[in-house]
Structure formats: structure tokens, C-alpha cells
Amino acid sequence: MKLVGGAALGLATMLVLSSCGSGGAGGGGGDTQAESGGQVTLKMVAADYGDGPGKPNSGATFWKGVTDEFTKANPNIKVDVQVINWNDIDKQVATMVQNGQVPDILQTGDYSGFVKDGLLYKTDEVLSPNVSGDLLQKFAEFGKVDGAAYGIPFVSSARALFYNKDLFEQAGIAEPPKTWDELKAAAEKLKAKGVTQPFGLPLGQEEAQGESFLWMLGNGGGYKDASGKWAINSPQNIETFTYMKGLVDAGLTTPNPGTKDRKTVWEDFGAGKVGMVNGGPMSIPIFDAAGLKNYGVAPIPGKTGPLDTTLGVMDWIMAFNKNGHAAEIKKFFDFFYTGDAAQKISDTYKLLPVTNSGIQKLSGDEKLKPFLDALPNASFYPFQDPKWAEVNPAIKQTIGGAVKDDPAKVLGELQKTAEAAG
């Protein structure tokens, strides 16, 4: 009896402990109900563009300001916003969907995965024509799947090369590099002056796919070729990563790039430890916070000349149809895009607007000008391809190996992932 009891206890402990490990971080799903008196609460999930909870620029603070004002104008509609950081938002939303607790509104990095399963309202059901007409046409195009629009562009950003002018002056570099060889020469000069990371190269989990793409573009490569086929291990890309590997081996970059997140490298740039780094408007607040003032912004160097395109990233807002509420959502969206909320988000987080009127309002900002100019000719991730959802995490995890081990092999594995059954 003692034995049986003990065994049962052991098993129970084991079950408890091991099921802790796999439990999802769920909770907080949408208990949206129309309450008595016509009161409707919209449940919204949004990504955090700020520095996290408790910081003055946290997403929670931002959205509270927006929703308070909205509820003041529309007393019958309350909006509950749950802000989740970028690292966890996809997984938490997936848990909500799996448990049937979808929010009414979701603001995140991708919408296309929800379309196939018929979870979303079409754009015209939740957005007034005057608002959708104001959206940048090229961006709105990316919100369509099979001709019907589901994703509403929310904010965008573009990339450019940031360089530390003080360090450049000390190293005797007259102007920012335009080609890879100039970049290498500049990095060598910086290293000779004791700069620990002449070129900041974040190929770690946070955004390896972005840094990689910028380098691929510099050699006429990309994740897909011109015909729309996956081409991760194209000869151009292999050449690109071989060149990067040379920089890494010579100690001209961040050490072990495959383990470094962009935020860390941007903070290092802000602290004056990095000579040059690819960044966007959203890195400006990080540099400011670290106290770095004397930096310049230039087009990203390519193999033979500066890029004529850059990485554009668009984030999206979308509405789920499960709880009804189309009319209320429409009111909220119109409020967001026509009021000053959309502009406030650009100002607070240095993100670029997605509307013609928004771009006009910002055109006076000197620091943002290079990025606004780059937007019309931006290149995007192949995020509308359903395989991207599987390729992207694999890239984040492993592409750093291409500058450490054999580039052809690492890129070949990723190509295999992309070509595998979908």
C-alpha cells in the first residue's frame, strides 16, 4: 500500500511539474459581450512599440490615451487593449485563436495567416471609404489576398545606414561607405582606432531576417527570385554571406552575430561602441536615450553601390468577425486614422505613417526625411506566401550560422525548409 501510494504521489508530482512546462501563456482572451444598455466592449490586442511596461512610452500608456479619448466621444463603446511585446504576441494570439477567444481587433506584424480560415472582416466592412482612400496605394495593395483587402496598414518603417560621426572623424573617414569594399576599409580604420564593433551586425533571433535581407538586396539577391520562387541559397546570396563571413572573421563586426539581437547592437551604437549599423526611425529614440547625438544617416552600401531600394516593414491592424461588432470597430478605426492618434504614434515611436496626409504632416522632420523618401521604392518580405510563416522563424534561429559555418550549407537548409510541403 505504501508503495502504491508513493508511486501515485510520484506520478502526480511528475504530471504537475511536466505539464507546467508545456502550458501556453494564454489567458485574457476576448470575453466580449454586449452589456446591458447597448454598451459594447471591444477587445483589442496590440504590439508594444515602446520600451515595455512601466516605461513612459509603453504601449499600454499610449493606447490608454487613445481609448480614453475615443470613449469620451463614443460613450457606448469601450475598448480594452491588451498590449503584448513583439517576442510573444504571435504565440499568445495563436493561443487565443486556438481557444476560441479571438479579440475584436488585432494590431501586429502580419494579417495574411488569418485570411484563409475566414476569420477577418474585409477592409471595406470596417473602414470608411475616405480613410481607405487616404492610405498609400502601394501599401494597401499588400493588404489584399486574392484581390480582397483584409489587412489595414498601420505603421511602416524603412532602413538606412547610421554612422557615428565622431568615430568616423577620429578614424579619418571622410564620408559614409557606398560599397562593400568601402565599408570594409572604413571598418578596418575604425578597428585600428580601437572601436570594438566597427560594423554592428545583429543576426540573432530578434530580427535576423531584416539584417540578412538588407545585405541580400545589396547583391541583387533576396528571399525570392524575380519569378517568385524561393531563392534563399541563390549564388548571389551565398556570395553575400561569404563576404559577411569575411568581415566577421576579421573581427570587423559584432562578435558572434548569430546570437545578437538588434536592440542590443543599437544600444551599443548609442553607447559609442559601434561605428556603423543598419537601423530605422525606430532606432532613433534608443540612440537619443543613450545620449548619442552626432550621427549621420546614409543609404545602405551594396556590393557595387548604395542600395536603390531598402527594406520596408509594414505592420497591420485587422478586425475579427467572430463577435460581430463591425459597426463599433469601424467607428474606432475611423477615429484612429482621422484623429491625431495615427500621428501621435509616429511621433512617439518614430514610425512612418501609412497615409498620404500623414506623410505630408511629417515631411518637415529632418531626421525622418531619408526614410520618408525611401518608402515609395521599398522592398518587402515575401510575407504573403504562407510558407514565410515557417521560413521566418527558421531564418531567425539559424541564419547567423551562415557567417560562422558554411554559408552554402546553412542557406541550403533554409531553402529546403522553404521548399518543403506547405
Partner: protein, 294 residues
Amino acid sequence: MRRLRALEPLAWVGPAIVLIALVVLWPVVEMIRSSFLEISRLGVVRGYNGFANYEKLFAEKDFGDVMVRSVIWVIAVVVLTVLISLALAQLFNQRFPLRKLARWALIAPWAASVLMTAIIFKWMLDPEVGVINQIRVKLGLIDAMGGAAADQLGDAATAMPWLVFVAVFVSVPFTTYALLAGLATIPSDVYEAAKMDGAGRLRTYWSITLPLLRPALTVAALINVMNVFNSFPIIWAMTHGQPGYSTATSTILMYILKGSDIGESAAMSVVNFAMVIVLTVIFLRVSRWNKEVA
């Protein structure tokens, strides 16, 4: 009336059974069920998927390495934890000035959030500003900050020992206290008897303390095995399992897979679960836990 009486125990154990069924058994069933479903990355269930999730998982290039690493990780962390805790428990069982303070201090790593501890160690190991690297520079162990030599978390060969160190660091307090409690249950007359028989210190420890400590030792080690196998925050906060998957254990792989294929991730969870059971059974066999000691 008699029949009612017979049902009485149920009223007492019922709530516990319901609780266990709800928070333990049901998630396990759900987990196993999910592993046979096709679920999109965004959580939409698309139907039954047979063993496809498992086939895909076993075909992952890094799967074998990750499983082997998980086992090594568990053995390394648990063995080190238990050895250090045995010594510490012995020490804290002695009377010495400020013992109370020392015992309180030992609780600190346990009381602090594991995630916090891991992040603090990550900062201390930062190649540009980390305090551990500053000390290494001052000691002349490395030439300068910022280079590859200062970046110990960037390479699996140096990152893995640090991960093990942090895992041991957070496991030692609990284990020490469990063993300390065990030591307190050993009656002093056995020691007196041993002394009378002329047993030396080593002999006493080997033949008296350790055997009598075995129940506590078994429980402490077993809980550690399961805890360490499922340990997520340390590795995730310090390396994300990178470079590549070279510092990932099966729990980390499970989490990474969740970002691309939830069904496959569930399959990984089931494998993980099975591994814990297997490890536990092996452990109980080896430790002959149910053989009562004299």
C-alpha cells in the same frame, strides 16, 4: 445510511481528485490530442493530422542533437546541484556564529525570479559592459572588452557551462534545504553508537548519514530532474538556444516550434513528457527508492 457512510471518503478526496483532473490530467489529454491535429501557426485547427506532426519533428535536422543535449543538461545540472547541496547541507547543519543569517542568505537565489536571475547573468556577461568581463580584463584573462573572447554566451562551448552554472545556482537552495531537513531527522543516538564502535568521520558519513538521508536525497533529486528537464527561462533569456540550435534543449525547441507549427510543437511536448517519465523511472530504479532503509 451505511451506504452513505461508505461514500464519505469521496467527499474528502473528491475536491482533490477534481482539482487534479482539471489542472493535471485535462491539459495532458489536450496536449496529446493537439499533437495529432493540424493547427496553423495562428492557432486555427484544420483537422486530424495522424502521425504527420511526429514524422516532421523526427525529421528535423537538429532534433537528435537537441534530445542528447537535454539529457546531458539534466545530468550535469542535477549531479552538480546534488553534490554541492550535500556539502552545503552538512555545513549549514553545524553550529556556527551567524548561521541564521547564512541560512537566510541561501534562500535569496531561490526567492528571486529565475528569469530575473538569468537576465542579470546575461548582463554580467555582456561583452561590452558586463562586470564579469571587466573582471576578466583586469585579471588579464582577456585582452579587451567587446571582442569574441569577451562574448562567452555567443559560442556554445562557453555558453553551455554558464547556462549549467546558472541552473545549478538557482537549484541549490531548494535542494540544500530538502537535505537539511533530512539531516535533522537523523537521530543523534545513531551517531553516538557509531562513535562507540569507533567509526571515523568518513565512515560515519558513508554508512550512517548517506543511507539515512536517502529518502530526502531521492525526493530532492527527483524534483530536480523534472524541473531541470522542463527548465525554460534560463536558456531562453540567456541565449534563445542560439547560435542556431546549439544551446537549445527540448523545451526550448518546443517553444521555437510553436512559432511555426503548433501541432509539431505539441508533438515535441508529448516527446518531452515521455522523456520525463522515462528519466524518472530510470532514476527511481537506480536509486531503489522504495527499499526502506533499516
